[in-house]
């Protein structure tokens, strides 16, 4: 018994020593700051690899928050303090157009850059999106372009609306991603005007009225909602969305301009079950 005990003790000691040694010898592995994100695209060009990450696992219709890194293929390191910009282009049969997008800015990690793009439609075999990127490193500007697959979200729920207002202007209205819960949720959206095929400036000073309904449950609404108004600090429309239970909710919308004129959307009434402008949520 005693021998067994001493053998066991020495084994334990040895294993502890070994593991200590291993710990000490292990080289510091550079952790990927975007490890928890999904790599959507990696483009090899100009001696660099441009990586595009997202929380989502694909480019989808609606709001896409994208993270970028530029890898120096020779050095194997990631380039800091570069300047990037993107222009997604939809190549249709008869024409091509862009979509609302943000500038690409640096994040806390100086090798990670961030921006968003709002795709209005999915691609298909003949019509597809190209992601055009321009980046400048140490005064030298590079360009690259890559075809990307933009598809409808897996749940098929509507999170972006493209509409022509009563002012004959085309708008793009996108819901910001959220994790809905049974509570008063923070709810926000982005609104853009389609000035040209390529230019989608953000629209401020409008109001987006919301009326959440459950079509599967007598089309009932919920109390304590707040319409969306433009928050200049956050640069988006913000309001409150209250959801009284889980399930499928249709958030009926009405977009009003600064004068209070309705540009798009209708009231929900006994006769009119839903507005022509809406977002969908299911949880």
């Amino acid at each position: 018994m005693k021998t067994i005990k001493s053998i066991f003790t020495s084994l334990l000691l040895i294993s502890t020593l070994i593991s200590c040694t291993e710990d000490n010898d292990e080289p510091m592995v550079e952790t990927n700051p975007l490890e928890s994100y999904n790599l959507l695209t990696a483009i090899d060009a100009n001696g660099h690899t441009l990586e595009v990450y997202s929380e989502q696992n694909q480019y989808t219709i609606g709001y896409n928050e994208l993270y970028f890194r530029i890898k120096d293929n020779v050095e194997g390191s990631y380039i800091e303090n570069a300047n990037l910009s993107m222009t997604p282009i939809m190549n249709m049969e008869m024409m091509s157009h862009s979509c609302p997008k943000s500038a690409i800015t640096k994040t806390e990690d100086s090798s990670v850059y961030k921006g968003y793009s709002i795709f209005q439609m999915p691609g298909n075999a003949t019509e597809y999106w190209d992601l055009n990127l321009e980046y400048t490193i140490a005064g030298q500007t590079y360009n690259l372009s890559e075809r990307i697959e933009v598809i409808a979200p897996a749940d098929g729920k509507k999170r972006v609306n493209v509409f022509t207002g009563t002012d004959e202007t085309r708008y793009v209205l996108a819901m910001m991603p959220m994790t809905p819960d049974v509570m008063v949720n923070d709810f926000s959206a982005l609104l853009f005007k389609m000035e040209t095929m390529m230019n989608f400036p953000a629209v401020e000073e409008y109001t987006i009225e919301i009326d959440p309904r459950m079509p599967g449950m007598g089309n009932h609404s919920s109390p304590s909602n707040e319409d969306l108004t433009f928050d200049t600090a956050a640069k988006m429309y913000k309001g409150k969305l209250s959801l009284t239970m889980t399930g499928y909710w249709k958030i009926n919308l009405k977009v009003k301009n600064a004068l209070g004129e309705v540009l798009k959307g209708e009231d929900v009434t006994e006769e009119n079950e839903a507005s022509s402008l809406y977002f969908e949520l299911e949880f």
């Binding site: 049974v182 008063v184 449950m217 109390p223 304590s224 009284t244």
Partner: protein
Amino acid sequence: MNSFSIWPFNHVLKYPKISKMTLVLSYFLTCWNSTGQEIPVAIDQDSILPINLSEVIVIASNITRLDHQTHQKPLSTLDEYLESSKKVAMVKRGAYAWEPIINDMTSERLAITIDGMRIFGACTDRMDPITSYVDVSNLSNVHITSGQKGAEIGNTIGGALDMRLEKSGFLPLDWTGSVETGFESNNNAQIVGGELNYANENFYLDTDVIYRHADNYIAGGREEVPFSQFTKYNLSINSGIKVAEGEKLLVSFIFDEARDVGYPALPMDVSLARAFIGSVSWVQEDFFGNLNDWETKVYANSITHIMDDSQRPDVPIRMDMPGWSDTYGYFSQAKLHSGTHSLMFKVDGFYNRSLAEMTMYPNNPSEASMFMLTWPDVRTLNTGMYARDIMSIEKSTLTLSARLAVQGFNIADEFGLNSLRIFYPEMDRGQTRFLKSFSARHQKNLGKLELTNSLSYGNRAPSVSEGFGFYLFNSFDNHDYIGDPNLENESAVEATTKVLFPFEKLTIGMEGNFFHTRNFIIGEIEPSLSTMTIGAEGVKIYKNLKYANLYNIAVDGTYEITKELQWNGLVSYHRGVDKSGRNLPFISPLTYNTGLQYTSPKFSMSLTLRGSADQVNFNPEFGEDRTDAFNVVSLSLGKTFKVNNDNVYLKAGVDNVFDTFYSTYTDWNNIPRMGRNMYMTLSYDIN
């Protein structure tokens, strides 16, 4: 024990007064103890300090066997026993689980206990009043107290109802048992029960079991009421050990389960309603100093209630609504007799957890199910103290009592708290309320006449539904209800007068009470809110009305025609209005009942007439409509035999002899009551 005392208590002194009183209803001291051996003491007290404001429904008496013979229907449900009481009316949503009303007030304004144990229903739609989780087989009697007199068992406005469990006590009875069975023609109700008990001077063990099954009942005029079936079974065990002279350890356990219970007045049924109820108590005759009759009990109970609509052929949307209610509590009380004072002190407390869910399944199967918490896991902690002094002053008795309690609510579920914050963004997770009750009661004998006056004040916290309910559908007024955590406590000033004229053979009692209730809690329409339930008319939020007034007046009489033949009658009138004179819901119209009872040792017979005038004071705002007057006649016959020296009781009768089609003001959505019903029960006592 189903209204039968199955063993002969020959050694127990017979008090003719009590025998008379136990005919269906009787008056006792509130602290009357149901264990057999203490009855003579209680009777002594009774004669010195009669307090006539409480009512006892004797179900099984250890003193006399007359009670079960005189009760019209020995194996009837507890609900039917309660309905036969003078003070209790029952709200009916079907054939099962009726909800008691005392002084025109229901569950949230009453304190309902089982042997002093607090227990709370798990159904958000009040489909499981506490009275549905026991059976007459468990009980010896039910104490009904009006108004603040009920504060002994908890904070209340309308009164209290304590269901006392039946216990053999420490009597040299050895093994006893009985088997009983009953059948009712109207709904094919079958009742089978039995009990087996052992008792000696130092130990007793009582067990009983009962099974009830009923199909749909048929209303007057042969109209079947669909979804009125039920099945229930109940098992109880009671035991006691005499640890030393004057020191007893008692345990009790009840398992009660109902399945496939239909609620014809509601859009949903109940697939399961189950309760586990247990307690351990220590009873000690001498405490310390002059304190005696020390009793301490710790208890726990757990209720599961599964509401669903799976049996309904046509619903706008399928849903499940399970609910759970667990309660843990204790009380400790002692008495002190000093000169003309008879004092009682009690400390008590309970902790309750109430949680209820609602899941709706969309008709479109690809859509996610809809889920909400209708009771957001509310934890209630109540700690209270109660004291009472009964003073004999010459020919009168003055009773003073007080209860002080602290009640805290805490919402344990984050999901539920966030749900309620949709309505009340500033709402705190927890809150504390102070509750109190004071009561003074004076009783005087003026010659033969007994006059009792009382003045009381009491308040209560909102119920879980009133404070924290989330879209609770009320099919009576067709509205969804939302609780309000910021409600004020409801408080009532109550005045009662009772006069009793005990003439030679005729006894006439008159009783009137008045409740001025401030911050009366009731649901009021909130037009800005959208209904959740498909087909609901609107949404109501519980609010405090400035005040409401309730009046109840009753006159009752008994006349002893011969020693065996007795007449009794009762007429009562009720009125309830709020500040603006608006009628309150569930206020009884003028009701009356009268009956003749013949009782001899071998044979009994009763003929009763029950009725009500038109309900003229109703309020459509609360879903009420005018309920028409009705009269219903019932008849019963009972006979006692001896078979091999064992007692056999046979009872047969007809309820609603003329098959009248009727419903009363307490019938949810006017569902009609049972039509003609013939029943027979047979009990066999094994000595």
